[in-house]
Every structure is written in structure tokens, then in C-alpha cells.
Symmetry: C2
Subunit: 463 residues, 2 copies
């Protein structure tokens, strides 16, 4: 065992209890009634960063939820690393199928179950503990370090780009580390190099002034729930592709090399069925499952509601119906342009018997990180130390819009060094984080800082 | 003023206060948490029937909500009349657009606003008060009278047919009177002679085992909300007709005479737009608005839900999505057969990428009441006395399944003598009952019993 591993082993109990405390704060950024909890999670994060030995720890306001900033700049000749993560979480309702309360963390079979366990509190916590261990062991860090832990990732980071623009010098770094992704398995780590962008919209279809008696008016009023279904159904071609004119125009075609690389990580339909529980795979014809998730754009209905949704029967003709619709985007799709294309398509589809409104909720850019950098080599070696295997490279289906922002703002390499697993259930019920991922994650995070500290800043910045 | 009118005028205040008490009981039959309130409304109804002078007043249990039965059989040579109504109401949520609490009755501009004001508590109450006035004035009634006031009409009367079959002799009558419909206007009464049947279904579409991250799995799982929309959209042809194979097979075609009669009561698209607030009329090509509502079957989405329906954005791929779907049926459509046709259609439409379940919630038969009976003449004369004008005859869009049951069980004429108005907002927010309808309704109900009492039982039973 390395000295880092010894330190981790000695502190397992404490790490688990501390992380449980973090996870018991319902910092759901999308729900306004959780604003105080979001603030509480920011304060908890700041306290932990102070305890780890970081200086100038600050909770900095934005238009909505605050950013936690921390720095330690005690290594003048060394590179500066910025670690990004988020302390906010997705909503979670016990009734959605949770086996234990989403905000009362519980360990079962070596996994810690709670909303945010994997996405992203567990991963943020692993990074903070890595810093604390290095500091305790050496009294200093191998690099200059900054933390930017935000509270709005799960609502699309609406204020983060402006925050980074306003604090460009404060946040400047030679390398950015993001821990908010999953590896293939405990024995096969992987590094995400492609992330999708996002545009999230809400479509409301309105018919009559108010809910009507379906017997008195049905058959003469275009039912808004029916009309919404008709519009949604028409947004997709029978072959599974998105039926929005121009949607694929800016999608970079996959090269033969990329397809070959993705094929190495592909999943069989059988494995996929076990993972999801769905009866049969589905999707855009002509693309493998991994290509559909990582390299192709999608359009999904995230929620739909209208009319009577209670127990039993109410013979009502609803006044309106609404759907939440989001698209995952790939390079070089532009989220605002995709919103405009969808708006134009609905304009064409919507009949004169209803009115409608399309409300944009958020926008994020896709990103592709170059693989051939010295910084990426450090990430590879860190995984080799933490997980004992050489990582694969993956394009992922998720979105972390700030990655594109960091690349554009600093031209710095961004390393997506994640510690989650594919079946962690992020955003769904029974989200979990394997305790083994936590401990190996701390080890890997420490190893990464040590590896980066061996190089000169300008060497790391160069591609 | 007739003596009945004088008595009504003298009791206006009391009538209003009593009806307000009835309306303040949230007897929502579809919600299990309202069971005690439903029971309370039954007891209130029974007390009122006792106060009106009815004998053998009983609250009789069914498998779910009880039936209130009452009788007065003190006129051996006279015909026996059964008055049917219901004391249960539809759900009502203040947030659906109510200007005042749905269970805190409030008078505004001569209208009493509350859930159930028109459908059907106000109309039941008018009948009870008519009996009370006759009893106070004459010490007896002009006919033998029975009341059957049920508590499950708004959930499709699931136990009523069995109750009637089990108490066939107890309920036997020469004429059945139902007050649960609307007239054209205060100056133009009307009698409904056609009612639609109903089949109410719940369609659940399931995909993955649990909600998934839309970035991690979107594009490879057939989104159940999307699939539900695709199925619903395919249940309708572009011309507005229902795309369920065999759906129209048993629909009786409209005769030229019927179309001419319906044309007299038709509504212009302009009036219709004012009434509904919808931007444009809609419906089955080749049929007028009134024909679509009264004489043609429909298929409506009463509710739809799935995935994240809260504030803001949650990038989830829902595990399931559900819709409440109901059809209004016309003679000679059979509700169980229509359910089977819809099931067969969904079987054809549903792709192998999802699973689904179609749950029947209730079934009701359509009915057409013959116009050429002595009993119907009595109803016409009663409206002439109560509202001062000769009523028109209408086919209505709503459903009162028990009408078909009464016709089949007793072969007795069923009179749909209603006192609501078309804009009462039954089932929607701000349901109201015009106080003038209440007072004229009491007058009409009393006049109807007097008119029926002038005939021999066998003369009324004959068509």
C-alpha cells in the first residue's frame, strides 16, 4: 500500500460520515423552496475546503445560487489547477421508486444511496479529501490549486458563464479538472473526452379558457393534451431520428477512426437491456448504442402533464397541457440555433385550433477535449495508480456546459476525471456511489495533482 | 303568482342557506380520502328527505359509496314516480382557476358558485324542496314517490346497476324523473332525450425499470412519454374522426328529421368561441357542432402525466407515462365492445420497445328516450309552468348511464327534467347554479308531480 492508500484506509469511517452529512442536505437547485438548503450545501462545502487547508475560501453570490471558491497558491513555480464540481442536486421524490429516503443516506452492499451521491457531491468530496490528505502528509500541495464548486449545474449553470467572465483572472488555470462523470467499471476506468450540449424547453399548448366537461364540449374543442401529443409525435421520424428541419445540419460526421474507437466500448443489446430494464433497444437507425448516446444528438420528453391526473375518473377536457422537452447536442450544434429550429417546426405543426408557447429553460454547448496533451497523460497515470488499469477514452451522453466555457476562456486542457459508475442512477431513483469509487477516487485525485505537479506550467498548457 | 310561487318566494333565504350547507360538503366520490365527506353528504340528503315528509328514508350501502333511498306511498291509486339524482361531485382544485373556494359557496350576480351547485346537488335539492312545499301545502303528494340519490355518479355509477337489480321491486316505478341536465336558457327550457354512453380508460406506457439520466440513456431507450404521445396521436385521423378500427360501426346514422331538429338548436362558431374561449372550433368533418356533441361519439384525453412536472429543468428520461382516455358513446355503441376495439388498436400501434397496460375505469350505456309519451307531455307542461315557455328537445353530450338501466329494467318512461344552464361549468372551475334556476326548478318539479298525478299509472307506462 502506498502512503496515500494507508491514509485513506485509516479514515474510511470519517469519510463516510462526512459525506453522509453532505448528502443529507437537499440542495435541489431547481426548486425555489430549497434555496436555503442550497445555501447550506454551499456553506458545508466551504467549511470542508477550509478544513482541507485551502485559503481564501469564499461563498460568492450569483444571480441565483452562490459559487464556492477556494485557493491555495503556495507553489509559485508550479502549474495552477482548477477543480470544478457542483454541490447542487437533481430533484428526488421518494414515490419515484426510492428504496430509502433520497436525503437520508444509507449504505447497502458497499454502495452509499442518496440523491447526489454520485452526481456530484461524492466526486466533489473525493477531490477535497485528496487535497486534505496531501496537505496533512506534506504540509503543502504539489500544485497551485483553485476550487470552483457551483450550485446551479443541475439547472444548466445559467449564471456560470457570466461568473467566469467576471472573474477571469481569479479563476485562471493551466489545467482544469472536472469530476462529474462515470468510468466504465471499477476494473476498467475511462476518461470522457466528448460531452453533449443541451437545450431545455417547455412547450405549453392551450385550448379552451378553462377545463370543460368532456361530455358537453368534447368533439368540438381541440383537446390540448391531444394536440400536444400530435405535435410531440410529429417531432420524430419513424426511424427514430429527430424530425426538426435542419436539426442535423451542423452535426460533425463520425470518422472511421472514431467509430472504431467507440466500437471498442460498445455495449451489447443484452447488457443494455439488463442495465435499463427496457424491453428492447431503440434509437436512430444506422448508429450503435454508444454512438447514439455519445456522438449523436437526441430529443427527449422529460415530463408531460395536463388535465386530471388524480385517482379514478374525471371527465374533463383540459384547458392546457405542457411538456418539458430537451435536446442533447453534439459539436458543432449551437443550442440557441436548435431552439429556433424547434420553434420553427412547432410553428409549422401547430394547428389553428390551439395556441402555444415555447419557453426556453436553459442552453449549454457541447465539447470535445483533445486527447494528445501532457495533461491527459497525467490523468491516465493517475487512474493507473488509483484503479490499477489504463483508462479507455469515451464520448459521453451527458452535458457539462462549463467544459466548453473553460476551453474557450483559457484554452486550457480540461480533464474529465470522474469516479462514478454507469449504473449509479444519476437523476433517477436510488442514486448511489460505490464506497470503493469514493476511496479509489480520493487516491486518483491525489495522484493526479502529484502527476501534474511534476511538469512546468507552460508544458501543460501546450497541446 | 301561483300558490307554489308564493311559497317559494317566502322561503328563498332558507333555500339558499340550506343549499350552501349541502355544497360545502366536499363529497368527491373519486378520491378515497373524501369517503367520510361522501358519507356526510348522504346523511345530509337523508335528513332533508325526512324533513320533506318522506318515509322509510334509508342510507343503503353499496360496495363503495351508499345510496340514499326514500319513499312516500300514501296515494294507492296514483302512479309511482322515482326521482333519481346524485349527491357526489367531481374533484375541484382552487388552483384550477376558481375565483372562490369550490367548497365555500358564494353568490355573485345571482349565481351560486360551488362544486356541485349545478351537477347535481342544486338539482337534487330543487326536487326535495318541491316535495316539501307540496307536502306542507296539501299534507300529501299527488303521486306515490320514491327517491334514489346515489353517491357514485361522478365515477360512472360502478355499483348502481347491481343495486337496482338487487332492489328491483323496491325501486319499481311507472315514471322515472332525472334532474341532472341543462336547459338551453332561462327563457328557453329544453328536455334532453338522448344521452351518450361512456367508457373511461387509463393507458400506462412503460419503458425502463426506473427514471434514467436523459444524457446517459436518451437516444437508446424509447421514451415512454414520447411513445404514449405517438399512440395517442395515432388514435385520431387528420379529419378529426377517431382512428380506432370499428369505432363507428354501430353508430346509428342521423335521419334527415333528426338533423333538422338538431339544426334548430345549433350554435354558431362565434357563440361557441365565446363560450369556450378556444381559438377555433374543431371536430369531426361533416357534422355540425351540436351533432358532434350530442349525436356523434368522441374520444378525449382527460389527463396525461409522466416524468418531471415540477419547476425548472430535470433531465430525466421517465420510466413511464400515463393518460386517462374516455369515449362518449351514442346508440348503439356498447362500452365494453368499444374498450375491446381500443385495446386491439393499441395492440397494433404499440411498438416492441415499450410495454403497456390499459386499465378500464368505468363503462356506461348510451340512451335515447322516446318523445311520444304521455309522461313526456307532463314534462312539457311542467316546464311551461315553471319557465313560461315550451321546451325544445335536445340530444346531450353528457352521460347518465342509469337512464339506460331504468329503461331496460322497468320499460318505464324516463324524463330528463334538468334545471342547469349550458355555461354552469360542470366539471370545470367556477361551477355555478343560477338562483333563478333553483327557484324555477322547484316550481317545475312540483308542477311535474302534479301533472303526473292527473293520470292513471297504466296510461303513463304506455308509450
Amino acid at each position: 500500500m502506498s502512503d496515500t492508500q494507508t491514509l485513506i484506509a485509516a479514515n474510511r469511517e470519517r469519510f463516510l460520515e462526512e459525506l453522509k452529512a453532505f448528502l443529507s442536505i437537499p440542495s435541489i437547485s431547481t426548486l425555489s423552496e430549497r434555496t436555503a438548503d442550497v445555501q447550506r450545501a454551499a456553506e458545508w462545502t466551504a467549511d470542508q475546503l477550509r478544513a482541507a487547508g485551502m485559503t481564501r475560501v469564499q461563498i460568492m453570490p450569483t444571480a441565483k445560487h452562490p459559487v464556492v471558491y477556494a485557493e491555495w497558491l503556495g507553489a509559485p513555480e508550479k502549474p495552477t489547477v482548477l477543480i470544478y464540481g457542483h454541490y447542487d442536486v437533481q430533484p428526488a421524490e421518494l414515490e419515484a421508486g426510492w428504496q430509502s429516503d433520497p436525503f437520508t443516506p444509507e449504505v447497502r452492499d458497499g454502495n452509499l444511496y442518496a440523491r447526489g451521491a454520485s452526481d456530484d457531491k461524492g466526486q466533489v468530496y473525493a477531490n477535497i479529501k485528496a487535497v486534505q490528505l496531501l496537505m496533512q502528509r506534506d504540509g503543502k500541495l504539489p500544485v497551485n490549486l483553485k476550487f470552483l464548486i457551483e450550485g446551479e449545474e443541475e439547472i444548466g449553470s445559467p449564471n456560470l458563464d457570466a461568473f467566469i467572465a467576471a472573474h477571469k483572472e481569479l479563476l485562471r488555470a493551466d489545467v482544469v479538472v472536472v469530476s462529474d462523470t462515470a468510468i466504465q467499471s471499477l476494473t476498467q476506468p475511462s476518461i470522457v473526452y466528448g460531452l453533449r450540449g443541451l437545450v431545455y424547453l417547455e412547450l405549453e399548448v392551450r385550448g379552451p379558457r378553462q377545463d370543460l366537461h368532456s361530455g358537453g364540449f368534447g368533439g368540438t374543442v381541440h383537446n390540448p393534451a391531444q394536440a400536444l401529443c400530435e405535435i410531440i409525435a410529429a417531432l420524430r421520424h419513424p426511424d427514430g431520428s429527430v424530425a426538426v428541419e435542419g436539426f442535423y445540419d451542423k452535426v460533425r460526421p463520425l470518422s472511421a477512426e472514431e467509430r472504431a474507437a467507440i466500437a471498442k466500448t460498445d455495449i451489447s443489446e443484452d447488457e443494455w437491456r439488463k442495465l435499463t430494464g427496457a424491453p428492447k433497444a431503440w434509437g436512430e437507425a444506422g448508429y450503435s448504442l454508444r454512438e447514439r448516446v455519445g456522438a449523436r444528438p437526441t430529443l427527449e420528453i422529460n415530463g408531460i402533464w395536463g388535465g386530471f391526473t388524480g385517482e379514478g375518473s374525471k371527465t374533463v377536457l383540459p384547458a392546457k397541457a405542457t411538456a418539458k422537452i430537451s435536446c442533447r447536442l453534439v459539436p458543432d450544434q449551437e443550442p440557441h440555433e436548435i431552439e429556433a429550429l424547434i420553434r420553427a417546426q412547432i410553428e409549422k405543426l401547430a394547428p389553428p385550433t390551439i395556441t402555444w408557447e415555447l419557453r426556453p429553460l436553459n442552453h449549454g454547448y457541447p465539447a470535445l477535449v483533445p486527447l494528445d496533451s501532457l495533461a491527459m497523460e497525467c490523468a491516465v497515470s493517475a487512474y493507473e495508480r488509483g484503479f490499477g488499469a489504463r483508462p479507455l477514452f469515451l464520448r459521453e451522453g451527458g452535458s457539462i456546459p462549463v467544459v466548453a466555457t473553460f476551453m474557450q476562456t483559457y484554452g486550457a486542457p480540461v480533464l474529465l476525471v470522474g469516479y462514478g459508475l454507469p449504473d449509479d442512477g444519476a437523476h433517477g431513483p436510488n442514486e448511489k456511489f460505490a464506497l470503493e469509487c469514493l476511496y479509489r477516487g480520493i487516491h486518483t485525485a491525489a495522484a493526479l495533482l502529484e502527476a501534474l505537479g511534476k511538469h512546468a506550467p507552460e508544458a501543460l498548457r501546450a497541446r
